[in-house]
Symmetry: C3
Subunit: 129 residues, 3 copies
C-alpha cells in the first residue's frame, strides 16, 4: 500500500481517552470479554484497579486506531490486544488473533504504547511501525 512508510518508520498512530467511570470494570463479563487473564490479574493487583482497567481500555482503543483498520466497535476483539508491563515495568503490546492478522496485513511489526491516568480520565497513545 502506498500509505505505508519505509521500513522502521511509523505506519499509524492512535490516541484515546476514557472517563474512568465509564469503563465497567466492576462487571466480570466485560472484563472476561475484553481483557486477558494476565491483564485482569495485573489490573486487580494495582492500587486503583478501576484506573488500571480504564487506562488499559484506552490503550487497546489507541492500539486499534494505530493499526489503521476499520473500527468494528464492540466487536473489535479488544482481548486480542494485550498490554502488560515488560521486565522494566514499561507497558508493552502483544497482538493475538484478528488484531495480529490485521497488523501483519498492514506490514506492522511493532506497536509502542504509553498510558496515563488522572483521578477521572485515562489517556493512551500508540504508535505502530
Amino acid at each position: 500500500s502506498d500509505s505505508l512508510g519505509p521500513d522502521g518508520s511509523a505506519k499509524g498512530v492512535g490516541v484515546d481517552q476514557e472517563l474512568i467511570s465509564s469503563v465497567p470494570s466492576w462487571n466480570p463479563t466485560f472484563v472476561e470479554r475484553n481483557y486477558t487473564d494476565a491483564e485482569a490479574t495485573y489490573c486487580r493487583s494495582q492500587p486503583c484497579p478501576a484506573s488500571s482497567f480504564a487506562a488499559r481500555w484506552a490503550g487497546k482503543e489507541a492500539v486499534f486506531k494505530s493499526l489503521g483498520v476499520q473500527s468494528k466497535g464492540a466487536a473489535a476483539g479488544m482481548k486480542d490486544i494485550e498490554i502488560l508491563p515488560n521486565e522494566s515495568g514499561v507497558p508493552s503490546v502483544t497482538l493475538h488473533g484478528e488484531a495480529k492478522a490485521a497488523a501483519e496485513q498492514n506490514g506492522i511489526n511493532r506497536v509502542l504504547i504509553s498510558l496515563s491516568h488522572s483521578e477521572t480520565v485515562a489517556i493512551a497513545f500508540a504508535q505502530a511501525s
Copy 2:
C-alpha cells in the same frame, strides 16, 4: 538542518486538546475560514457535529505543532491542514498552501494523525516524518 532525523524517522510530534464547547462550530464564518468544504460536510454528517469539528480543530493544531514552524495563532491557515477519513475510515492529513510549503521546507513527507473525544474534550496527536 541538524534537527532533522534520518529518512523515515519522525521529525516532529504534536499534541493538542480542546474543550468541545470552546470551538465555535455553530459560527459559519469560523467554519468557512478554518475547514475545507469536504471537512465541513463530513463533520456535519457525523452523529455529533460539534465534537467532530472540535476533534478536527485539535487535529489541525497538533499537525501544526508537528511541522515545527513558528505558531502564527489565528493566522496560521488552519484551512491548509485538511483532515479527512481515508477509504478505511482512518483520519488522514492533506496539506495545502503555506502548511504544505512549510512541510516541504522541513523535509516532511507525511503526517500521521489520531483524534479522540469524550463528551467534553477533544484531543489529537500528530507525527510528522
Copy 3:
C-alpha cells in the same frame, strides 16, 4: 536488546497528563528541585506561569516514560530532563545526568516532545528514537 527498533525508528513513546492545580509551582523548593534555571525563567516569563510549569512537568514525565526505564517516582531526577523552546519556539528536549545515561544505554539519540494545556489540564507526548 530485541525491543529496540532499527536505526531511526521510535524506541519508546510517553504520554502524561497533569491537573495544573496539582503541580506546586508556587513552591520554590519544588521548582528548584525539578526545573533548571532556564526552565524556571522561561515559565515565569509566560502569560500563565502555573500552566507552563505544569505542561513542562507533564512533558518531563512523558519523556521519562519514553526512555523505557523503571520509574523511580520523586527520585527520578526530573531536573535532568530539560524542555526549552528552540529558536523556532518548538519545545525541545535536552537530557542531562542520569536521564542522559539511561537514554544512551537504550540507544536513544533524540527525544521529540509536544505540550498542550487547557485551563485545568496539561498533557504531553514524547517520542524517543
